[in-house]
Each structure stands twice: as structure tokens, then as C-alpha cells.
């Protein structure tokens, strides 16, 4: 449990190593070379620390700027513009430049929260439990409200009791599975997304 701080020995060694007076007397300029410290000498951009880099597309608007995401040890350490893309040529707007801030926002949620009916606060519940519970609710709601034909005999095969909102910010593959499962499988018709907002 060692406490990290600048010990006396380090201070003395550091002072002697970076002492400018002797270098100044030896002729180096006190405004540049003589003043340079060892920290400045071996300074490197943090991207050299990255052990993985990938191309992602900015998650904000539809211009489709492409970005480079750098990661180290399974965590993203920086996101900035991809210079190869003809769409943004390395540049990004304020939102795109904040992608790293979004991924590492303090307000980010990483566990499932559940509110029981008439409850007054959130509870933490495991993901698997939530998935089972939602599947059961979907089946129960569908079974109770599925209509195969209207009174006048017209074929409908739908349920009006379940709805889904969402997808303009989701991947195409996600939208495809949502429409395939909800419409093609469960017979939901209330399926919409931000395209109309």
C-alpha cells in the first residue's frame, strides 16, 4: 500500500538532473535549451500507449464522419477524426469531437435499473432477470391482445397493445432485427423511430 508522492531523494535527483545554471553557463540559452526539463524531453502523445485502434463512424448526426478510436487494455483512451475519410478529412464538429467524452461520461449507466409498479425508487436487478421478465411480459401482452381477423373477416394478424420507438441512432442490423422480430414475428404494427421527429 505504498503512497505515491515525490520523495525527498527524487526531488534532489530531479533538481540536479534538470538544473539549468550549469547548462546556462556552458552557453545554452536560459529561454529554451537550458530550461528544458527531462519531462519535456521524453514527452510522447498518449496514442503511442494504445494497443488497439479501429475505425468508427461518428454516432451523432448523419454526415457520417469517420473517426479513429484508440484503446489500451480494453478501454478507449481517445477518439479523433480519421484523416483518410473523404467526408471529413480528419476534421470533426464539436459533438463528434466529444465522442470520447460521451463514452467516458460520469453519468453513464452500466447496470440494469428496475422500478416496480407503484414503486418510489429504482432497484438494481441482474440483466438476465430483466430479459426473462421482459420476454414474459411481451408474451403475456401479445397472447391477451393478438387479433387474427377483424369482425368483418379481414385478415390482420396483429397486436395493437405493444409499441416500439427507436432506431435512428441504431445500426442498420439492429433496425433490421427489430422490424423482423417485432413485425415479422410478434405482429406489432406500432413500430416507429425518430425519422418522423
Amino acid at each position: 500500500m505504498t503512497k505515491i508522492h515525490r520523495r525527498f531523494a527524487d526531488r534532489v535527483a530531479g533538481f540536479v538532473r534538470d538544473w539549468s545554471l550549469p547548462r546556462q553557463i556552458a552557453g545554452e540559452s536560459p529561454y529554451s535549451k537550458a530550461a528544458e526539463s527531462s519531462l519535456s524531453q521524453n514527452l510522447r502523445p498518449r496514442l503511442t500507449e494504445a494497443d488497439k485502434v479501429g475505425t468508427i463512424i461518428c454516432p451523432y448526426c448523419a454526415v457520417g464522419c469517420s473517426q479513429l478510436a484508440y484503446a489500451k487494455n480494453g478501454r478507449i483512451i481517445h477518439v479523433e477524426g480519421d484523416p483518410r475519410s473523404p467526408i471529413n478529412q480528419g476534421t470533426l464538429c464539436p459533438k463528434g469531437s466529444a465522442t470520447f467524452g460521451w463514452l467516458t461520461s460520469e453519468r453513464r449507466l452500466d447496470h440494469v435499473l428496475y422500478r416496480a409498479p407503484y414503486g418510489e425508487h429504482w432497484e438494481r436487478r441482474p440483466l438476465a432477470w430483466a430479459m426473462d421478465r421482459i420476454a414474459w411480459l411481451v408474451k403475456q401482452t401479445r397472447d391477451e391482445t393478438f387479433v387474427d381477423e377483424l369482425p368483418d373477416g379481414t385478415l390482420v394478424n396483429h397486436t395493437l397493445a405493444m409499441a416500439s420507438l427507436g432506431g435512428a441512432t441504431l445500426d442498420n442490423e439492429e433496425n433490421y432485427l427489430i422490424k423482423k422480430l417485432f413485425c415479422g414475428g410478434l405482429g406489432m404494427v406500432w413500430i416507429e423511430n425518430q425519422a418522423r421527429v
Binding site: M1, T2, K3, I4, H5, R6, G14, S38, L39, R46, E49, K72, N73, R75, I77, H78, T104, S105, E106, R108, D110, H111
Partner: protein, 74 residues
């Protein structure tokens, strides 16, 4: 004063970002009397050392004021 533990993911000058063991990420500024130099922070990031940070949240900065950092066993 609170204490959280985690891994330093990014370090710039005297500021660093900690990936918390309990999940989430938080930004810290090292106070001057913590007497920690930038190269020590950079070393923590390079070796992904498991550390505990004693800090005080500062709402204005949406970050924490790191008073002390102690190295924890792996």
C-alpha cells in the same frame, strides 16, 4: 472526503482519468500538496497500476480534486 479504486486510463499533465472498479469513469485533478508529478501519473497509466484515490468532488469542474493516490496490490 471519499476514496475510489481503479486503473488510470489516461494521464495529461497533472490530470488523470480513472476507470473505477465499481464501473464508470471519473476525471481527477491532483492537488498541489499531494506532491505527485506528471511523470508519476504517466507511469501509473503506462503500467495500468491498480490504485486508490482519495478525493473531494468539485461540481463546478465535473471532476474530483485528488488529495492522495496509493498503490494497491494487483
Amino acid at each position: 472526503m471519499a476514496t475510489v479504486s481503479g486503473i488510470v486510463t489516461v494521464a495529461q499533465e497533472n490530470r488523470f482519468q480513472l476507470a473505477l472498479d465499481e464501473g464508470g469513469t471519473r476525471l481527477f485533478v491532483v492537488t498541489h500538496n499531494a506532491a505527485i508529478d506528471p511523470d508519476q501519473l504517466a507511469a501509473l497509466q503506462a503500467q495500468q497500476v491498480h490504485v486508490a484515490v482519495t478525493f473531494r468532488p468539485v461540481d463546478e469542474l465535473i471532476a474530483g480534486e485528488a488529495r492522495a493516490i496509493t498503490e494497491l496490490p494487483r
